[in-house]
Symmetry: C2
Subunit: 265 residues, 2 copies
Amino acid sequence: MNFTSMIHKRWAQQTQVCVGLDPFPERFPAGMTDIFEFNRAIIDATASLACCFKPQFAHYAAIGAEAALKDTIKHIKANYPDVPVILDSKRGDIGSTATMYAKEAFEQYGADAVTINPYMGSDTVLPFTEFENKGVVILCRTSNPSAAEFQNQLIDGEPLYIHVARKAQTEWNKNGNVSLVVGATAPEEMADIRAAAPDLPFLVPGIGVQGGDLAGTLRNGSFKNGNGLMINSSRGILYASNGPDFAEAAYKETLKLKDAINSLC
Amino acid sequence: MNFTSMIHKRWAQQTQVCVGLDPFPERFPAGMTDIFEFNRAIIDATASLACCFKPQFAHYAAIGAEAALKDTIKHIKANYPDVPVILDSKRGDIGSTATMYAKEAFEQYGADAVTINPYMGSDTVLPFTEFENKGVVILCRTSNPSAAEFQNQLIDGEPLYIHVARKAQTEWNKNGNVSLVVGATAPEEMADIRAAAPDLPFLVPGIGVQGGDLAGTLRNGSFKNGNGLMINSSRGILYASNGPDFAEAAYKETLKLKDAINSLC
């Protein structure tokens, strides 16, 4: 089953929550040091509520914990095979090198999808989309403060992110496996991106710590018939408690976000 | 000594050749399978001629050979400490996550510089440039066929890549550690980028297999007083021979490129 179908099946379970697996060992509960052990507890607590999991590559690579990342994805695939894994590594290279990054994500790490950066154009994107069963999640309008510096610049009267969205919808989605990263911090822009890319799932960062607008996101980002979103929360879930009840607290936060989303749909 | 000073010292040795370390094990000489062993032979043969080395991350990550990449950089630092290493991993993320990617490149892999993607704006760049002694090599105008799709779009009458170049020169180079990736395949554009960023070294892909214009590159990309370039060749050097003389052939190809550059300066 391909990534997009997996996501649709999770949406049918009334969840649009993406659980971000961004380990900060210094925020783990007292006595816990092992990244995989922490992730496993979070995953076991939240898998039933999650639309997908999203480990952020840099959190592992910065401390040489690539093995914990592999073990984390293996644990999800072995125990929750219905919940897809997006490797958030924002790769961006061309041709045969892009294919190598696809192999890194899909073969070495076993992810179902990967985030990529479109600055270098179609040469970056198409080697990934050729992996028909895998998902390709393209940065479009990100949620960070300086995102607008280039992404919002007007080209022929429309911002760069609209050009990216349109190309994704009309040229890059031939295998039905493209999604877009669209931040919750700019809900009006999200409406324009949804108009340019009516069929593409949106991975939505920026809810929670970054202060994104959940109601605006659902109003402007959903598909015409509902769903369409993978709304990420990382720190809000992972560090809801730093006591021995951290996994239970993560469950409760995930449920709270899931319910908040469903109450607004 | 910081990355930019290291490069200036290599330029003073009359070399602007960047040796790209992109291992394709299927192109190694018969009987050789070990990536580190191959790289070591290439490095030992070419270090005296190289302005810098540039291992391409995906070639290692696609096959789980991160350890060979670490060993390769260690070998260069231990034996040729004057020749800086650019880790070509085209990272691009924000804030604390960007800092983690900087730690991946500079601490885990021990590189002197890293390539990064500017699509997400200053939030992507500044966490890297804070590592004052390290180099930050920002994608500006790349050499791939689809590079123009977004990079050449006009914003206020100027292509996106000029906006990136100008920001790099005027805002991001406070610590004097920023360089730009500018492909050899568009030498006229290189002249405009040099005008916008007169002080920044250019890492130049596209010579060799991609058919870039060496004379145009030197004419349009050099600093006003000469030098200014790190002209990359990977496959042309690494696979000059697939016989037992591959290292000697790599030496000869590197020398040929170095001489060709110097004859045009």
